[in-house]
């Protein structure tokens, strides 16, 4: 048999091993595309994942004489409407340079009860100056609970005084709220009157934690960015209802954030997470967050959101150190009506 020109025995076999069939090539190409697409998508969400892992599932340390293991004890037997219901304690702090990182007051404490079955939400604002028995011992204003023992002490204090089982908490600092609202592109709010304050703390961007600035949030429907939304919910000097008036405004802004969040897409999450970075902590785990996000979108009826304020006669002023004295005989039946 004549040998073709250039043929060397053994070389053809090696060459065929270095070459792949078209079928194998196609399989490899499809696999490569799929893998790199997943990797590209994963890379996009890495900042969000990192921030979420850091911020979520932060279990509070409850070193207090709390009656139960507050975050793990099962809820009592519930009616069908209450099935799946859960309670979250929202904590808002002035985490400026007046205080060390974990010893801040909570300017805002809102208990939120969510009933997925009936798509109802109840928001109970707890006055920051309420004079209560603190879980860390002794009596004082409830806004100090967090400063004495972080989120665990705040949860234990609210739980023991109000007789409420709290499933989770979310803590956000001043900068965190500003960043959240800016990251979602601002919120639409109807400010019910001009909010004017000549002694508004200039502690966030002012450079002096004890300085003051003037603010004037004008009345009417408007699109608020983070800084102006913060001014709207934080100012209390020009409100005759002081902290109670401020609590009303905080509930308005919470609802506006919820409405805006419904307009967001999953692709917005990384920039949101990057913006918030370190300014938000929650005991809610990532898995639960993933379940709650679609649930939140189904709450459409504004009339199913109940807002509760502990105005007089539930509370009265004139307590020690400018505190507000609770009338537990009136408060507890009201609370248990919404937080069974």
């Amino acid at each position: 048999m004549p040998v073709p020109l250039g043929f060397r025995p053994g070389h053809r076999a090696r060459a065929s091993r270095r070459r792949l069939s078209p079928f194998r090539t196609i399989i490899l190409a499809v696999l490569a595309i799929a893998l790199s697409a997943v990797a590209g998508g994963f890379a996009y969400f890495i900042p969000a994942a990192a921030a979420a892992i850091q911020a979520t599932g932060v279990m509070p340390h409850i070193a207090s004489p709390s009656p139960t293991d507050l975050l793990t004890s099962p809820s009592p037997s519930l009616s069908p409407a209450q099935q799946g219901a859960f309670t979250v304690l929202l904590l808002g702090s002035d985490d400026d340079s007046k205080f060390s990182a974990d010893h801040v007051l909570t300017q805002s404490m809102i208990l939120v009860r969510v009933l997925p079955g009936t798509k109802e939400v109840t928001m109970l604002s707890i006055p920051r100056d309420l004079y209560v028995h603190l879980s860390t011992g002794g009596y004082g204003k409830i806004d100090g609970a967090y400063s004495y023992g972080s989120a665990g002490a705040a949860i234990a204090t609210v739980s023991q005084d109000f007789g409420v089982h709290i499933d989770d908490y979310i803590w956000v600092g001043l900068l965190g709220l500003i960043k959240v609202i800016d990251a979602i592109g601002g919120i639409d709010v109807v400010t019910s009157s001009p909010v004017m304050d000549d002694y508004y703390p200039a502690d966030v961007y002012g450079g002096d934690p004890y300085g003051y600035q003037r603010v004037a949030v004008l009345a009417g429907p408007q699109h608020l960015d983070g800084v102006h939304a913060m001014q709207y919910v934080r100012s209390r000097h020009s409100d005759i209802q002081s902290d109670f008036g401020r609590s009303k405004r905080q509930q308005q802004v919470l609802q506006a954030i919820r409405l805006k969040a419904k307009q967001l897409a999953p692709s917005d999450i990384p920039s949101l997470a990057t913006a918030i970075g370190g300014e938000l902590k929650t005991s809610i785990g990532l898995d639960k967050v993933a379940r709650l996000v679609p649930l939140a979108a189904t709450f459409d009826n504004p009339d199913s959101i109940h807002q509760v304020l502990l105005l007089p006669p539930y509370t009265r002023g004139g307590g020690p150190d400018g505190s507000v004295t609770p009338d537990w005989g009136a408060i507890l039946p009201l609370v248990h009506q919404y937080f069974p």
């Binding site: 065929s16 190409a29 001009p194 600035q213 004037a216 897409a265 692709s267």
Partner: protein, 382 residues
Amino acid sequence: MISRYVLAVCLAILMAVTGVSTYIYVGSRQSKAVAPPQKPTAAIPRAQGYTLPGTVYIEQSGALYSYSAGRFHQLTPEAGWTQPALSPDGNSLLAVKRSPMFSDAYLLSLYGAVRLQLTNNAAPPRSSWDSGANAWSFYPRLSPDQRTLWMSYDGPKVAGNNYFDVDMSVWAVPLGGSIRQGRSWTTANNYTGGDIQPVPLATGGLIYTKYAYDPDGNRVGQLWFTNRAGSAGRALTSTAAGCAQPSLSPDGHTIAMICTYQKQVSYLTIASWNGSSLGPLQTVISDQLVAQPIWAPDASGIAYMAPGGPAAPFQLWFLPKNAYNPPAPSPVPTPTPSPGGPHNGPLPTPSPSPVPTPPVIKPIQVTTNLGLDATSPLAWLG
């Protein structure tokens, strides 16, 4: 058959391209909800876009813009300018220039050049723990005779008084005069934010928004009328309706306003005005967050601001007149039996033709990607 080396190189390139493309694609799927608003002058007018007659003056991000023939023109830099209002003769603009601690009213040309500073509310700095004697002036208007500046004003202040109540009253100051020559026309309710949005009337009276506490302790807006400085005046709307931002029609017989009914809603509402009292409130738009209504100078409709979508920044909208003042229906012709010869028995009853349903007039969205300041009233020159 492809060489393994070539295949490896091709696959590496393919993977890199796919990975980067996926990253960019996912990033491009961000919702429009977080997109920053466009600058008005960068907005390209749509070919089929709606064009308002005359010139509308608006504010975005501290700059004043004029909008005419479908195009925006920037009148001032982004330097705290807000709340434009036209002088009655239409030759000048009034506006507020807002700084962090105070604001002042100015008289501007129609092209944004400063003609005159009308107030001087800046106070010398003292210390970081005292906000000084600075004051706010908002919502400037000129009286019909153009001799008096009307505005909401929270002064005069005394530095370091540690007084927490900050309320605005409606003041009248001779144009070009000092605040000492002015006088307060209204007495604000304490801890409410006060009296704002004056509308001086040709009759010498004044319509404005007064904030008050209702019996449940909620702060709400009411339209008030007074015809004398210092007089108590009287409420034109109830606290339950929560109305504000009054705008008088060109003929002076109708007032447009927004009413919130103490909720996070804002209805465009109109009511007749006879010079001393309002007629029944008529809700014209109830499915938008309406702000700052203003009448077209030719009475062809009402312009206002409202979000372009759910929880979105505010855009310019226009509601044609037919939406709130539909033309009277044309008379329906009475059908008559067709003539004919002698007829036995009863004549057939003619069936009337159905009354035509008037078409539903919807608001027209004039701008799409802007972020207009909804606390700044619109001004409209015919």
